[in-house]
Each structure stands twice: as structure tokens, then as C-alpha cells.
Symmetry: C2
Subunit: 459 residues, 2 copies
Amino acid sequence: MNKCFVFAFLLWTTIILGQPKNDVLSDEEILKGIYTTALVKNQGYKWLEELTEMGPRLTGSENATKAVYHFQKIADSLGFKTFLQPVTVPQWVRGEAEEANYKTTSGKIVLNSCALGGSIATPEKGLKAPLFEITSFEQLDSLTTELEGKIAFYNIPMNPAFINTFFAYSNSAKQRYVGALEASKKGAVGVVIRSLSATVNDLPHTGSMTYKGADTKIPAMAISTLDAEKLSTNLKDNPSLEFFMKMNCESKDSVISYNLVAEIEGAQNSEEVIVLGGHTDSWDLGTGAHDDGAGCVHSLEAIWLLKQLDILPKRTVRVVFFMNEEFGLDGAKVYAKESKKENINHVIAIESDAGGFSPRGISVVAPDSLVARVREFRSLFEPYGLHQFTETGSGADISQLYSKDLVMLGLRPDNHRYFDIHHSAADVIESVSPRELEMGSATIAAFIYLLDKYDISAK
Amino acid sequence: MNKCFVFAFLLWTTIILGQPKNDVLSDEEILKGIYTTALVKNQGYKWLEELTEMGPRLTGSENATKAVYHFQKIADSLGFKTFLQPVTVPQWVRGEAEEANYKTTSGKIVLNSCALGGSIATPEKGLKAPLFEITSFEQLDSLTTELEGKIAFYNIPMNPAFINTFFAYSNSAKQRYVGALEASKKGAVGVVIRSLSATVNDLPHTGSMTYKGADTKIPAMAISTLDAEKLSTNLKDNPSLEFFMKMNCESKDSVISYNLVAEIEGAQNSEEVIVLGGHTDSWDLGTGAHDDGAGCVHSLEAIWLLKQLDILPKRTVRVVFFMNEEFGLDGAKVYAKESKKENINHVIAIESDAGGFSPRGISVVAPDSLVARVREFRSLFEPYGLHQFTETGSGADISQLYSKDLVMLGLRPDNHRYFDIHHSAADVIESVSPRELEMGSATIAAFIYLLDKYDISAK
């Protein structure tokens, strides 16, 4: 490593050698040390490379559980106290590559498609039926017999005018989650949805769906946004067009997998716990580099960074690698239940599940006075490009711990690209910028440091 | 296009049909219209796709001039008044793929390499010589006879601890620009530099170099950052290691190319000119999607956006597509000279030459009172994620117009990824996010609107 570029880092560590750093350095200096160490050492990116090399981590798969052991090995080697929490999780398998096509006067059109997570298979030889296109939820509500015997084609784009793509996603995600359920009530025999992506291209995006309350289960797939636009056009030219879909995915028996909890005991108030984490499971089309490999790595590296700087928080810190966020938050529910049983006194909860992009800010869920208190840290983060201190939720896994006495935070990375890769084959290490990932880890470490130092608590 | 996602846009345009929009709408509403139109229509991204499909646009190449005509055709079709300004530009050609290798006890190591722009060729059969590694500029200054007969190996990484990668680049770029010049003075026979990239990977990055003032010209190439690290290690094991480099690049006669100027006459103060632009030329390893296709498209689309919203600026607006930023700002110099000759009264100059990433802010070069005035717009841009109103320069091309009476602005996109792709084969359309690009165009359009409406001027 070159002398030049570690100068600041070495200077920083040399000044305070042998002293607890948080006693002699200002908050500005501590943050500089945290961000510098992250960007120079790239430890989190290395961990993410190792993780994604293991392949996808679909809930219930052998790989998902292997990833848990992999993180445990790292955490053990770093001197954490680790333990596993058994979690019963669903096991859905995609089976062979899906098929989707239709004929036009110019020939057969083959679509980029994928089964939605949790879908049943089509009949063995596939399913062929006319389509009915649904372009809004209002239209869906107004339908009476139009879907009978047909494949419902949900073509409800994410609204590109939203600056925050998560809002656009929330407004359109219903077609994926309950599209089959609602269409089956109106007599549809299958469902094809426009992928939930902010960009028009060839990638199909999977994601979870539910049959809860359905009398009849019908198969559901996603097609790429570009294919959805083409299909819509072709359907206008030929409303009796027949759509063919074939999938042999299936739900198998539930299996046991695990949450991983890695803990460092607090130096003073060890009965108070700061919990942070991401989810180990991923979708299977990519390798879950952003969703949520980045979140797991952010969390683990945040603690590693504090350790590198000899900062031992007063409170106990727990990193939780939640299992099965994607298919129903099973791990988060188990963690919340076990914590309640053991009277774990969580004071702060932090989640990273919005990708490994440039961090733009943090979202805080807490009583107003504490939100204001957290916002006072804003000037410390401005040099690192964090300006957005919002109140737009925290994270799905830690939401299971919700209480009015808990200060909850969610990392908010830049989200313009998130839904280009989310749940698709593009969610791989190549789509992660090492620097952007490291900035996220450093941000979480910095927040833990400050929230701990200043005893931020709603209790 | 779906009803749902253009709702805000349609509503916006419908309200004010037939009226000059800036008379009836607030600044907040105008900005909403600008950003919505950009994100819904994606016009700039479509232009960037067309541009990059044409291939690289190396200064002096046929392609670079073709790109000028391509932009002129678009600008003409939009109703701009357009004209070309002849620019004499150098013509350097890379020739065949470069070769670089050395032997270790485990066999021959082949490196990812590329000639630096402007370099002479090696002898036809290549150049083989021992290496001398230089790891800092201070070390270079202290050298006496160490480089004689050797290939100077500059291995001075960009400092990852800088949050702004442009600062890290500036601190290391000297090895590329004057590395050969300085090494030749000390007797070196060739130069190999570590690519100027913030990430350690396999991509070589080219860029310009100078022989100005050199008695002897020696050939210079860049190798990937990863290869530089390996080479450094191997060189420690075997200091007499011989490095082989072969390049047949050459400088040909200068040729005539062009600046393109596209103008819309101002509605009231047409003698005052707002100039904005990027540079048409690119490096040849990629297709200059970010550098500076994005800047050209940002500039053109900014005006297109105002037009879409029936906003006609009071001042004349000129979009300039500068030729040859990369090899010495020839186009910018011609534009400045011609403008002076014609007494063009520039009041505002805006440049986009920092990539098509999420815009994070703007840099302003102006008298203090005007910097403060521009900063007053900050709250208007916060909803769009722009918070950084800095004074860190404007842009290389518009810098040729510098006067204390000119308000100069540079778009400041997120820069964490910029030097991963800069001047390399990764600078292609796939590395551009449509949403991020569009946010940049909208930001420039919004600034033009505000600077024009509020008569911002240093005169």
C-alpha cells in the first residue's frame, strides 16, 4: 500500500496510539477516521465479493444457510460472541427456466420472464390463454367478468416522476404481491405482470406474491418492462392474442434455517442494546449483492470499523443477519419474539436494506424530540455527502421490534438505480461500487458511535 | 405510456395551456415540471444511446466530426439556430492493441495496458528494459541517475481517503501528464503508469500526456491498477525484472474539426448570453458515454426541457459542443477567441463534464455576493437531492471564458464511480443510469430558468 494514500489514516492512528480514541478526539476526527479506514481498507467490499461468489441465497436453500455459517465464521474470527436462532422458513424452488411467448403476424415473440416467488407451476405442458391487460388498480376494481378464462396482464409501471423510487415501487408493488389473488377471484387462469423496475429494458424482476385467502391458486410470472410495452402494443393490434406461459416452480416443505446474532458486550451500559442488521437471504436470479448482501456487510463492517479504531461502545451492540426477509420476515419475527422472551433492552435499531449505493442520509423513526436530536448530527455528515435526515420508515426486519421506546434508523442510499437491479439478474457484485458500499458502512459506524456516545434513547 | 405515471405531468401542462408558464407558476411548480418531464420522457438518454452507438469520438477522428453533425441535425430539428466553428485539432491514433508483459519464475505475466494519448510508439519490435518504481512525486524529484536506461514505473495511487474523487485525481494526475517528460530528463527510455482509477481492477485508463519542453520523447503507457500492484510486488521479488512494452500509436497531421453552437434568441435581453455545454470528443477505449456524452446531452436536453414547457428565456441561450477538451481545449480556445472578436456578452456559463451520475449540487465561481445569491436557490433543489453548493471550479472548457464579470457554474454529480470508468473501456452506455442522467439535464434546465428569471449577473 502506498505511503501517500494512507497518510491521513496513519497520522490519525498514530496521534492517539494506546488511548481510547473517543476520549481524545473530536467527533469530526472520529468520523474522519471511520470513513478513511473504510475507503482505504475496503474490508466490506472484500466480504461482499466472498459472499456473492457463493451464489444466490434463496430462502430455504442450502446456500442461504451456508451464508449464515460464512458470516458466523467471519464474526467469530473478529472476536464477536455469536449464536444462531433457528427459523422455520418456506422453501420455494424455481425449477427450469420459464417460458413465455405469443405469436404475431411477424412470428413468435419470446419474452424475458421469471416466475414470481411463491407461485405455483403451470400445467406441465404450459398454459395458453387470451390476455386481458390491466393498467391501473382502479380498473382492476371495476372488472366483473372480463378476466374469466384469461391470463391477467398487469401493466402498471412504476411512476418515473417520483424522485424517490421507493415511493414509485410501493405504489405499483400490489400487482406483484396480490395480483394473482385478486385476478383469481375474478376468474383469471394465470397472471403476468410488468416487472417492477424504473427502467425500460430486457430484465425480468421476481419478488414475492401471496395466495392468502385465495380459493384458487393461479400461476404468476413477471416479464421485462420492455416486453410488457411490446406486449401491450401487440395486444392492441390483436386483442385475441394467446399468451403461452410455462413454469415448473414449486413450494416444498418448510425447512430450518437461522438468524445469526453477533454481539459485542458494552463497556458500561451493557444491558442496553443497539441492534443493527440486514437480511442474509436473497432472490435467486442474481446473487443479492445489493439486496441485501450490502446491508449484511454494512452492518458487520460498521462494528469492524469501530474495532479498528479501538472504539468500544458503552452499550452492547448486536449485529443480526436476519433470515427470510423476502418471503415474509420469518427471521425478524423470531428475533423479536426471542428478544421479548429474554427481556433484551433494545434502545436503538438500525437497518440497511436499500442497497449499497452512495449514502444520501438516514431515516429516523422516533419521538419528535429525538428526531430533532439526531438531526443535530447533520453537519457532521455533510462532508460525506449525507444531507437527507427524513422520517420515511426504517426497515422491514427491525420493524418487527417496533415500540415507541425504540429509536429506529434506516440507511438511505441514493435510490435512482436500486429498482434497475432489485430482484433481477443484475443484482451482482459488478453492480456495486466499492467506494459507495464503503461509504455506507462508515455511515452506520458513525451513527452507532454518536448515538452511543450521546446516550440517545427514547426510554 | 401509462396514464398513471404521467398524471402529474399532464396535470401540470394542462393547467397552464396557452399561457407563458413562468408567469403563472411558482418556481417550485416550474422545477417540478422540468424534473417530471425529464424523468418521464427520457429524451436525453435516447440521444445518448444514439451518440454512443456511433462509437468512440477521439479528437481528430472522423467519428468526432460525425458526432458534431449528428448533434447539429438534432439541434436544427428542434428549431435552434446552429453554426459550426472550425477548430484545428491534433490527430493521434492508437494503432494496434498494445502489448505489455514481463517474466516471473511462474511464467509470463501479460498486463492490461493502453498507450497514453499523445505518446509516441515504441520501436517496431517493442521496448524491453529494467524498471524503476516511483511511488511519490517527492521521490521523483530526488532521483539522480536511477532512471538511466530504465522504464520509469509510476505507481502513485489515487488517495482513496478523499471523499471527492476529483481531488484524489488532481493529486495523482501529474504522473500521467508529465510522467514521461520528467522521466526522460533523468534518462528513462519509457514510462508505464498506474491507471488513474479509484478502484483496483483490470481496466487500463488512458488520458493525455505532454512532451512540451522534452529533449527526448519516450513512449508512455498505462496499466491497470491491479496489474500495477502485482508488478510492484514482482519487482520487489526481482528488482532486475525486464519489462516489455509495444505500441504503434502515432501523431498524424492536425485536421479541421468543429465546435457546434446552437442558439435560441432571448425574448427580452437577447444581447446577454447564457452559454452552456460539454465536449463532443471522447477517448477511444469506450464510447465516452459519461465523458462527455452526458455533458453534451445534459446541455442540449436542458434547453429542450425549457422548450417542452414553453419557457423562453429572456436572455439568449447558447449550447456549445466543444471540440477537443481531451487533447488541450482547442475548441474552447477558439470559442473564447471568436466570442471576443464578436463582442458576445456572456453573463452566465455552465458546464457539465463530470459524468452522468446523480447530481449532488453545483459549483459556482462568481463574486461572493452572487455565490450567496445562487445559494438562496438551495431549498428549491433539496427535493431533488441537490445539497452541495460549492466553489470548487466550474469546468475546463468554459474556464477559457473566465472573467470576473462572468458567473460560472459546474454541475456536480456524485463522483464515487466517476474514476472507475473515466477514460477506460467502461465508459459506455451500460454504465449510465437513465434516471441519473435525466436528473442532471433537469438540474441544468432548472438553473438556467432561475438564473435567467432573476437576472443573475456580475455585470
